[in-house]
Amino acid sequence: MAQMNLLQAINNALDIAMAENDSALCFGEDVGHFGGVFRATSGLQEKYGKARCFNTPLVEQGIIGFANGLAAQGSTPIAEIQFADYIFPAFDQIVNEAAKFRYRSGNEFDVGKLTIRSPYGGGIAGGLYHSQSPEAYFAHTPGLKIVVPRNPYQAKGLLLASIRDDNPVIFFEPKRLYRASTGEVPEEDYQLPLGKAEVVKQGSDITLLAWGAQMEIIEKAAEMADNDGISCEIIDLRSILPWDVETIAASVMKTGRLVISQEAPLTAGFASEIAATIQSECFLHLESPIARVCGMDTPYPLALEKEYVSDHLKTYEAIKNSLNY
C-alpha cells in the first residue's frame, strides 16, 4: 500500500492501463508533456511516447470524435475533457455517437473501449464554468455508463474497471478532492465493480445517499446527526448509469427514510430519478418523503458559492426534517 492522493491514484491507474495494453492511448488538451492541467497524465508521455499520450487541438468534439473512431477501430482511447463544463461541444459525439454506436449497427461495430475522463464539480472558487456537475444530462442517454469515485482507492479501482469495460464510460473526477483526498492505495492492479453502490457505513434510522465529492458532505452531516442520536446509513452510489437500485432500495426498506445529496441543481438532477424509483420500490416502507439536498436552480455562482452549495448543514437539516416529519 502507498499513500496517494486522488490524482496520483488516477495517474497510477492510467499507467497500469497503458502498460498492459499497447493500444491504450491518453489524449486531450495539455495532456501530453505537460501532464494535463491537473497533472493526471504526468509522466505518461515520457514513458509511453508521444504517439500514445498526446496533446490535442482545442476542440472537444474533435477529441471525442477522434476517440470514437479509435475505439471503433479497436484501440483503447482514454480521452480527457479538461473540465466537465467544456464537455458540451462533444455532446453530440457522446450522446448521438458513442452511446448509440453498438445499437444502431446491430452490434456490427461498437465503441466499448472508450473511456472519457473529466474533472467535475465545485468548491474550488471556479465560478460558472469550472464547477458544473453535468452527470444528469448523460444519465438520460441509454448506452453510456457513468462513474464517479469518492476517494483515491475508489478512483483507481473504478477507473481501471471503466477502461476495461466493454461499453463507453464517462468517468467524472471530483476535482475538489484531487489533492485534498489522500489515502492508502494498493500499488498493484485491482478493479472495483461498475453499477454497484457501496454501503460505506451501516445505520438504522435513515439512509444518506451521494456520490463523488458529495460523499464527504453527507459523512460530515451524519456525524452531526450521530451526536443527536440519529443512526445514519451512508451509501456511495459510485455508478450513476446503470445505477444500483437494489442496494438503495434494500437500505431504504430497512431505514424507511432517504436523503439524497448532489452538487448539481435540484430540477431534473439525478437525485430526482433516484427519488422517483425508490418511492416506487419502497412506497409502503417510507416514513417520510424522500429529500433531495442539491445545488440551487441557478448557474454555479462565484462569490456566493458557500450559500449555493448543498453543504453538510443543509444535509443535516434535511436529516432532522425527515426524522421529525
Partner: protein, 454 residues
C-alpha cells in the same frame, strides 16, 4: 489553460493574493500553484504569452514557417479567393480521354466490376424510389447523377480500408459486394437486417466489408475517421480510412474538428467531399462563400485535389493517388469531387420547389454512367447486348428481392434491449418483461411481436 487564465485574471486584479490554509488544501489555487505555469507567471508578471513558457520546448509552436513570408509595411489583405484550384478531368462525355491525360490503373476486369456496380446503383435507386412511392418502404435516398463518386472512390481503395460514409454512398457498398438481399433486409427493417431493424432505410453497415454503419447526424464520421485512421497507423496496418461527406456537412463543426485533428496527428485518412451543389434545398452558394471545400485544405495544411466527380477515371485516379500518399506519408488528403444531385435529397422532398428544370437538364448531359459506358464501348470492353441484358436482369432481381424482403418478419421484441450495452442490464430486462406482459394483454395492437412472445 482555462483555469489558469481564470486565476491570472484575479492575480492581475488584486496584485496581492492572500491564500488561506483552508483554500490551499482544498482548491484550484493549490493545483495552480503546484504547477510550473503559475510559478512562471508570478515571476514574470501577468501576460498571456507567458503560459507558453511552460510548454515543452520541443512542443513549442513552430513559427519558422512565418519567417519566410515577405514583410510589408503597408497593410494589405490577402484575398479570400487567392488560391486557384485546378480541376482534374480525364474522361469526356463522349467516352474519349482528354489528350495527355494520365489514366488510373485500370483493366477490363476492374472496369467491368465498376460499371456493374454503377448499373446496380442506378437500377436499385430507381426501383426503390418507386417502392417508396408505393408505400412499401418508408424512405429512400437516391444518388442519381453522382454515382461515380462513391463507386469510383471504393474502387480506388483496398478491401481492408475502412469506409466511413455519410448516407448517399451506397455505391461504395455495392462495389464492395454488399448483396441485394442485404440492401433489401436493411430497407425493410426485417429480422435479417444486419442493423436489426433499428435505423431508417439506407443506414447500411457491414463489419465484414469494412463499411461503418451510417449515422444520421451530419459530419460526425469526420473526426471519427481521423481517429480510426490514427489507430490503423499506430498498429502498422496496411490500411487507410476513407471518409465521405457532402459540401453541406462540411459546414458542421465536426468537419473542422476532424480535418484539424487528422492534420495535426497525421492520420492516413482520405476526406472525400461530394460537392453535389445542394444540401436538401440549400444551394452551395448559400452554404459558403469560399472556393468550394478544396480551398479549406490549405488552411489545415492538407494536400488537396479537386476533380470532376462525374468522371469515373478522375475519381479512380485521385483515390488511387490519395491512398498511396496517405499510406506512405501517414497524412490526410482531401478530394473534392464536383457533381450534381440530379435526384431529390430524399423521397421526402421535391426539388421542383427550389430549382429549375433547365438547371437539372444541364447536368443530365453529364451523366457519369453514360460517360463510362461510352468509354467501355470505345474500348470494346462492353457492347449494347451486354448493356440490355445487365439492366434487364438487374431490374428483375431487384423486383424479386423486394417481394422476398417485405415478407420477412420484423425483429423479435428482445432486439429492443440488446446492444444498448454489451450485455442487457438489469433495468432493461425488467422493462422488457413489463413490455411483454403488456403486449400479451393487447396482442392485436402489437402484431409484429405478439405472436412470438413466450
Amino acid at each position: 489553460m482555462r483555469c489558469y487564465n481564470n486565476v491570472l485574471n484575479l492575480w492581475a486584479k488584486t496584485q496581492t493574493i492572500i491564500i488561506s490554509k483552508d483554500r490551499i488544501n482544498n482548491s484550484i489555487w493549490y493545483q495552480c500553484l503546484a504547477s510550473k505555469v503559475i510559478l512562471y507567471l508570478i515571476q514574470d508578471g501577468y501576460s498571456f504569452p507567458l503560459a507558453r513558457k511552460a510548454d515543452n520546448k520541443e512542443n513549442a509552436m513552430n513559427s519558422e514557417v512565418y519567417k519566410e513570408s515577405p514583410v510589408v509595411h503597408q497593410p494589405a489583405f490577402i484575398d479570400g479567393h487567392s488560391v486557384e484550384i485546378p480541376i482534374l478531368k480525364i474522361l469526356q462525355q463522349d467516352g474519349s480521354v482528354y489528350q495527355g491525360a494520365e489514366l488510373p490503373k485500370i483493366d477490363q476486369a476492374l472496369a467491368t466490376r465498376i460499371y456493374k456496380a454503377l448499373a446496380f446503383h442506378r437500377v436499385l435507386d430507381e426501383r426503390m424510389v418507386g417502392a417508396q412511392r408505393q408505400g412499401r418502404i418508408s424512405f429512400y435516398m437516391a444518388a442519381l447523377g453522382e454515382e461515380a463518386a462513391s463507386v469510383g472512390g471504393a474502387a480506388g481503395l483496398e478491401d481492408q480500408d475502412m469506409i466511413m460514409a455519410q448516407y448517399r454512398e451506397q455505391g461504395a457498398l455495392m462495389y464492395r459486394g454488399f448483396s441485394l438481399e442485404d440492401f433489401m433486409n436493411q430497407m425493410f427493417s426485417n429480422e435479417k437486417d444486419l442493423g436489426k431493424g433499428r435505423q431508417m432505410p439506407i443506414h447500411y453497415g457491414s463489419n465484414a466489408l469494412n463499411y461503418m454503419t451510417i449515422s444520421s447526424p451530419l459530419g460526425t464520421q469526420i473526426p471519427q475517421a481521423a481517429g480510426y485512421a490514427y489507430g490503423q497507423k499506430l498498429q502498422g496496418k496496411d490500411a487507410v480510412t476513407m471518409c465521405y461527406f457532402g459540401e453541406g456537412a462540411a459546414s458542421e463543426g465536426d468537419f473542422h474538428a476532424g480535418l484539424n485533428m487528422a492534420a495535426v496527428h497525421q492520420a492516413p485518412v482520405i476526406f472525400f467531399c461530394r460537392n453535389n451543389g445542394y444540401a436538401i434545398s440549400t444551394p452551395a452558394d448559400e452554404q459558403f462563400v469560399g472556393n468550394g471545400i478544396a480551398s479549406r485544405g490549405v488552411g489545415y495544411g492538407i494536400k488537396t485535389i479537386r476533380i470532376d466527380g462525374n468522371d469515373i477515371l478522375a475519381v479512380l485516379k485521385a483515390t488511387q493517388l490519395a491512398r498511396e500518399y496517405a499510406l506512405k506519408e501517414n497524412k490526410p488528403v482531401i478530394i473534392e469531387a464536383m457533381s450534381y444531385r440530379l435526384g431529390a435529397h430524399s423521397t421526402s422532398d421535391d426539388p421542383s420547389g427550389y430549382r429549375t428544370r433547365e438547371e437539372e437538364a444541364k447536368w443530365q448531359a453529364h451523366d457519369p454512367i453514360l460517360r463510362m459506358k461510352n468509354w467501355m464501348l470505345a474500348n470494346e470492353w462492353w457492347d449494347e447486348a451486354q448493356e440490355t441484358a445487365l439492366f434487364e436482369s438487374l431490374r428483375e432481381d431487384v423486383l424479386a428481392a423486394v417481394k422476398v424482403a417485405e415478407k420477412i418478419d420484423k425483429p423479435p421484441v428482445e432486439d429492443l434491449v440488446t446492444d444498448v450495452y454489451d450485455q442487457v442490464p438489469e433495468h432493461l430486462n425488467k422493462q422488457l418483461n413489463e413490455l411483454k406482459q403488456h403486449i400479451k394483454k393487447y396482442p392485436e395492437s402489437y402484431p409484429f411481436t405478439a405472436g412470438r412472445i413466450k
